[in-house]
C-alpha cells in the first residue's frame, strides 16, 4: 500500500480544525481512535520479549486463526511497566483500549474470549486508555488515574506503548513530523539554535550541558562538513530509557535528530547504537526506510533545498564508548579510547570536523519543544532544569520500569508514591543513582528535589537516570565492590590512576567482604591500611583521570564512606555483614537434627573446620571457618545453614 504523502503531510502539519470530514476519518483510523475490527497490541520490546511476548504473539495469531476471527495484531513498545510484561492491550470497536499485565501465552484464549463477549476478565487488568468518542469499560481504572501514571508527566514517553513503532502513518496522524516540517520551512539554522537555547533544554545523558549552546558552538565553526551523532550506546547497566524510547517511538527520535542536524547546518547524521540492541535497531532501520520512501530523508527534503542522510552504526560494545570522544574514535574504526578535551568535538570531532554528540532522550525532547514552544517547555520542571527526566528504576522494588517526571520531583515521590517502595514488605535502605560510577543516596535525602542543581549541591550526580533501589537485604559494601570490579574491567586502560586505581579499590573492598585467612600477622593491618587508602586514592583518580569514567569511578566509594560508614565498620571490626549478603562473612552452622554424620562436608572443607564422629552430627569450629560455604553446597541433607 503506497502512502498518501500529501494527506500525511497535511495531518502532521495542521491542527485538526483544518481537515475535511474524509481527512478527519482517515486520521482517526490511523490514530486508532476509530477502528473497524478488534486490535491487539503486544509489547515486543526487549523487556516484553524476555518475559515471553513472542509466544504471546503466536498465541494471539492461532487464537484468531482457529476461530476465523479477523483482528489486527500489532507490536508496540513499553508503557514503562517492565516488571508487568508481557503487557498486552486490546481494543474492540467503539470501546476504549484496556491494558493487561503478564499475558503469557496460556492466558491469551481466556482473555480474548472474555473481551470479545464484552466482559472484562478477572485479574491482570492494568487500566484503560480513555479517549474521546470511545465508550469506557465499567469498573476499570483509567490509566491516567493510577498512582504509577498520575504523578508522572509523560512528554517524551507519551506515545510509548500506545502507538505502533513501525507505523510512520500513525506517528504523523498524531502530529508527528509537524515540528520538523515547520523547522525546515519557517526557521533558519541559527533560529533553531536560539529557540532551543531559550527552552533551557540540557543534555539528558548526565552532564546537563545546554543543548542550544553546544549546537551554536558547532554551527559557528566554519567547515565544509558537519556531523550530528546520536549517542545511543547507553552503556550504563541498569539504564534502559534510551532503548525504550527507541523501541517505543523511533520516529520521535529521528525527527529530533533531523531537527538537530538542521540546526547545526549538517546533512549527515549517525546513530551510534549498541549492537546488543537488536529490537531497537530493527525499529530504527524500518523508520529510516519509511522516511526515505516518503521523502522526509534524502535530498531536497520537501523542496526546501535541505538534504539529510541518517545512518545507523552498531557499536561493538565497551562501556567507555558512551563517552563522546571514545565514541567518535570507535566510529572512525579505532579503539574506543577517550582523548583529551579541548578540542571539543564541536570544533574537531568525527574525521576532524565539527560534530555534535547528543543523547537519545535529549533529541527525543526536540519535536515537542518546536511544536509547543520554548515557553511551554520552561513551564515544566525547575528554573534551571526545565522539562522532564526519565528514570529507569530497578533493583528491590515493587514495580520496576520507567518513570518520567518533571525535574524537581522528589525521590520520595518517585520511589514511594509512583513505584510503590521496596515492595514485598521490605524496607528501603538506599538508592543508587547513575550506574556503576554513580552515587549512593541515603534515605535522609529522599525529600531532595531531583534536578541538576539540587543534586550538585549535595555532591551527587544525576547520571543518565538509572536508579537502583536497595532494600534491607542488600549490602552496601558488596554492591560497591561489584561496581568497582565492573569499572576496572571497563577502564580503557589509558590512564594509570583509572586502570590501577579501580583495581586497587576492588581488591580493598573484596578484602573487607571476606574473612581473613588467618587473624595473625599483618593481614588485619593490611585491611585497615587499605581502607585508610580508599579516600586518598579517590582524590587522585578524580584529579588525574582523562575521562568521566576514571573521574567518576570513585563516586560509589566516596558516597558510601560518607553515608554508610557504619556498614564498612561492621564488616571490618565485627567481620559481620549486617544484611547477610557477603557469603564469606556468614556464620555457618550444622543442624544437629538433620545431620546424618555422612562426613561429606568434613572431607570437603578446605579449612578443616568441621569435626565430628561418623554417623553422629558434625559441627563447625567457628574460629577455623573461612566462610566459603562449600559445606552448604555439598550437604545432601540440607543440614548446613547460616545466620
Amino acid at each position: 500500500m503506497r502512502k498518501d504523502k500529501a494527506l500525511l503531510l497535511k495531518l502532521a502539519r495542521s491542527d485538526r480544525s483544518g481537515l475535511n470530514p474524509d481527512e478527519l476519518k482517515r486520521s482517526d483510523e490511523l490514530r486508532k481512535t476509530e477502528i473497524s475490527r478488534p486490535l491487539v497490541m503486544v509489547n515486543s520490546s526487549t523487556s516484553g520479549i524476555v518475559a515471553g511476548s513472542l509466544l504471546t504473539w503466536k498465541a494471539v495469531e492461532s487464537y484468531a486463526a482457529d476461530r476465523s476471527i479477523e483482528l489486527d495484531l500489532t507490536e508496540t513498545g513499553s508503557i514503562g511497566l517492565s516488571s508487568e510484561d508481557p503487557v498486552v492491550s486490546v481494543q474492540i470497536p467503539g470501546r476504549t483500549r484496556i491494558f493487561f499485565s503478564r499475558i503469557t501465552e496460556g492466558r491469551v484464549p481466556s482473555l480474548l474470549d472474555d473481551l470479545f463477549h464484552q466482559v472484562v476478565p478477572d485479574g491482570n487488568v492494568i487500566g484503560q486508555l480513555l479517549r474521546e468518542g470511545q465508550e469506557p469499560w465499567e469498573n476499570v481504572p483509567a490509566l491516567a488515574d493510577l498512582p504509577f501514571f498520575a504523578l508522572q508527566n509523560r512528554i517524551v514517553m507519551e506515545s510509548c506503548g500506545i502507538i505502533d513503532p513501525f507505523s510512520l502513518e500513525e506517528y504523523m496522524a498524531g502530529g508527528g513530523y509537524g515540528a520538523f516540517i515547520r523547522t525546515i520551512r519557517s526557521y533558519t539554522f541559527s533560529e533553531v539554535c536560539e529557540l532551543v537555547t531559550a527552552s533551557g533544554l540540557r543534555g539528558r545523558s548526565g552532564g546537563g550541558f545546554s543543548t542550544g549552546e553546544k549546537w551554536k558552538a558547532a554551527f559557528r565553526t566554519p567547515s565544509d562538513q558537519k556531523y550530528l551523532i546520536c549517542n545511543a550506546e547507553e552503556s550504563d547497566p541498569g539504564a534502559f530509557m534510551d532503548r525504550t524510547l527507541m523501541e517505543g517511538n523511533p520516529f520521535q527520535l529521528l525527527e529530533g535528530i533531523s531537527i538537530a542536524a538542521y540546526a547545526i547546518g549538517s546533512n549527515r547524521a549517525y546513530i551510534y547504537i549498541r549492537s546488543e540492541y537488536k529490537d531497537a535497531i530493527r525499529r530504527i532501520n524500518n523508520a529510516i526506510k519509511e522516511l526515505r520512501e516518503i521523502g522526509l530523508l534524502g535530498d531536497n527534503i520537501l523542496d526546501s533545498g535541505y538534504n539529510l542522510q541518517i545512518s545507523l552504526r552498531k557499536g561493538p560494545g565497551a562501556f567507555v564508548c558512551g563517552e563522546e570522544t571514545a565514541l567518535i574514535a570507535s566510529l572512525e574504526g579505532k579503539r574506543g579510547m577517550p582523548s583529551s578535551k579541548p578540542p571539543y568535538p564541536t570544533t574537531s570531532g568525527y574525521l576532524g570536523r565539527p560534530t555534535v554528540v547528543n543523547n537519545v532522550e535529549t533529541l527525543s525532547n526536540l519535536p515537542g519543544i518546536i511544536r509547543k514552544g520554548p515557553e511551554w517547555f520552561r513551564s515544566i520542571g525547575t528554573e534551571e532544569s526545565p522539562g522532564t527526566k526519565i528514570f529507569s528504576i530497578s533493583g528491590r522494588v515493587a514495580l520496576s520500569g520507567l518513570v518520567e517526571v518533571p525535574m524537581g520531583t522528589s525521590f520520595d515521590t518517585i520511589i514511594n508514591k509512583i513505584i510503590g517502595g521496596a515492595g514485598r514488605g521490605r524496607e528501603l535502605k538506599a538508592l543508587h543513582l547513575g550506574g556503576p560510577s554513580g552515587c549512593m543516596v541515603p534515605l535522609d535525602l529522599m525529600d531532595l528535589p531531583v534536578s541538576y542543581e539540587a543534586l550538585k549541591e549535595k555532591g551527587l550526580i544525576m547520571g543518565s537516570g538509572g536508579v537502583l533501589v536497595m532494600d534491607d537485604r542488600t549490602c552496601v559494601v558488596n554492591t560497591v565492590r561489584f561496581f568497582m570490579y565492573y569499572l576496572n574491567k571497563q577502564s580503557c586502560g589509558k590512564c594509570i590512576p583509572c586502570r590501577e586505581g579501580t583495581r586497587r579499590m576492588a581488591e580493598i573492598l573484596a578484602s573487607i567482604t571476606r574473612k581473613p585467612a588467618d587473624e595473625e600477622g599483618s593481614t588485619t593491618l593490611e585491611r585497615f591500611k587499605g581502607v585508610m587508602q580508599l579516600e586518598s586514592l579517590a582524590e587522585v583518580m578524580k584529579d588525574t583521570s582523562l575521562c568521566g569514567l576514571g573521574q567518576n569511578a570513585p563516586n560509589p566509594v566516596v558516597s558510601t564512606l560518607k553515608y554508610f560508614r557504619h556498614e564498612y565498620e561492621e564488616h571490618i571490626f565485627e567481620r559481620r555483614c549486617p544484611s547477610n549478603t557477603c557469603t564469606e562473612l556468614r556464620t555457618w552452622y550444622i543442624d544437629v537434627d538433620l545431620c546424618t554424620g555422612c562426613t561429606v562436608c568434613a572431607k570437603k572443607c578446605p579449612a578443616d573446620a568441621i569435626i565430628g564422629t561418623a554417623r553422629h552430627p558434625y559441627f563447625i569450629v567457628q574460629e577455623k571457618c573461612i566462610g566459603c560455604g562449600i559445606c552448604y553446597d555439598v550437604c545432601k541433607f540440607s543440614a548446613v545453614y547460616y545466620k
Binding site: F240, S394, G395
Partner: protein
C-alpha cells in the same frame, strides 16, 4: 575449510571501500556470519584493508562483541548487570561455571555449551535473566539453572 574462505571472501566483497571506517562493520559481519572471528578471518581482513594483523586483532579484542572461539551448540548468555547481580546472578554464574566447567567466553570441550556474560541485556524488571540460543529464562533460581542445563544436555543426547 575452503567453504569458510569463500564465505569470508563474500563478506569482504560487500565492503569495497577499503577505508579504516570499514573495519568494525567488517568484523561485525564476520562475527554475525560465523559466531566468532577466526585467525583466518583476521588475516584476510588485514590484507583487505592493508592493516597489520596485530592492529586488527588489537582492535577486535578491545570490544566485547567479538569472540575468538566458536560458539557451543547451545550458547548460554547470562546477564550480570546491576539489577541481575542484585537478584543473584553471581550465584547463577558460580553454578553454571561449576556445571559446565567453563568461564566467560569459553566453550566446553565437547562443543556443546558456550558461555557469555553480558553486562546488561536491558530487562531489569525480570532479573536475573539468562538465555540459551535466544530463548529467555527470567527470574530464575540456582535450582532452575541446574534443571535448564540438565534439560539441554538431555535434549542433545537424544
Amino acid at each position: 575449510m575452503a567453504d569458510q574462505a569463500a564465505r569470508i571472501e563474500k563478506i569482504l566483497h560487500q565492503f569495497p571501500q577499503i577505508k579504516r571506517n570499514a573495519l568494525i562493520p567488517l568484523l561485525q559481519a564476520v562475527q554475525d556470519e560465523f559466531g566468532f572471528i577466526s585467525e583466518e578471518a583476521v588475516a584476510k581482513i588485514g590484507a583487505h584493508l592493508s592493516l597489520p594483523t596485530s592492529k586488527v586483532y588489537g582492535l577486535a579484542t578491545f570490544y566485547n562483541q567479538f569472540s575468538f572461539s566458536p560458539r557451543g551448540f547451545y550458547h548460554v548468555v547470562l546477564c550480570n548487570g546491576t539489577s541481575c547481580h542484585m537478584g543473584g546472578a553471581g550465584d547463577l554464574l558460580n553454578e553454571i561455571t561449576k556445571l559446565l566447567e567453563i568461564g566467560d567466553g569459553e566453550t566446553t570441550r565437547d562443543g556443546l555449551f558456550s558461555l557469555e556474560v553480558q553486562s546488561c541485556i536491558g530487562a531489569c524488571g525480570q532479573s536475573p535473566v539468562m538465555s540459551v540460543n535466544g530463548t529467555y529464562f527470567s527470574g530464575i533460581s540456582v535450582k532452575e539453572v541446574r534443571e535448564i542445563i540438565k534439560q539441554y544436555r538431555e535434549d542433545a543426547e537424544r
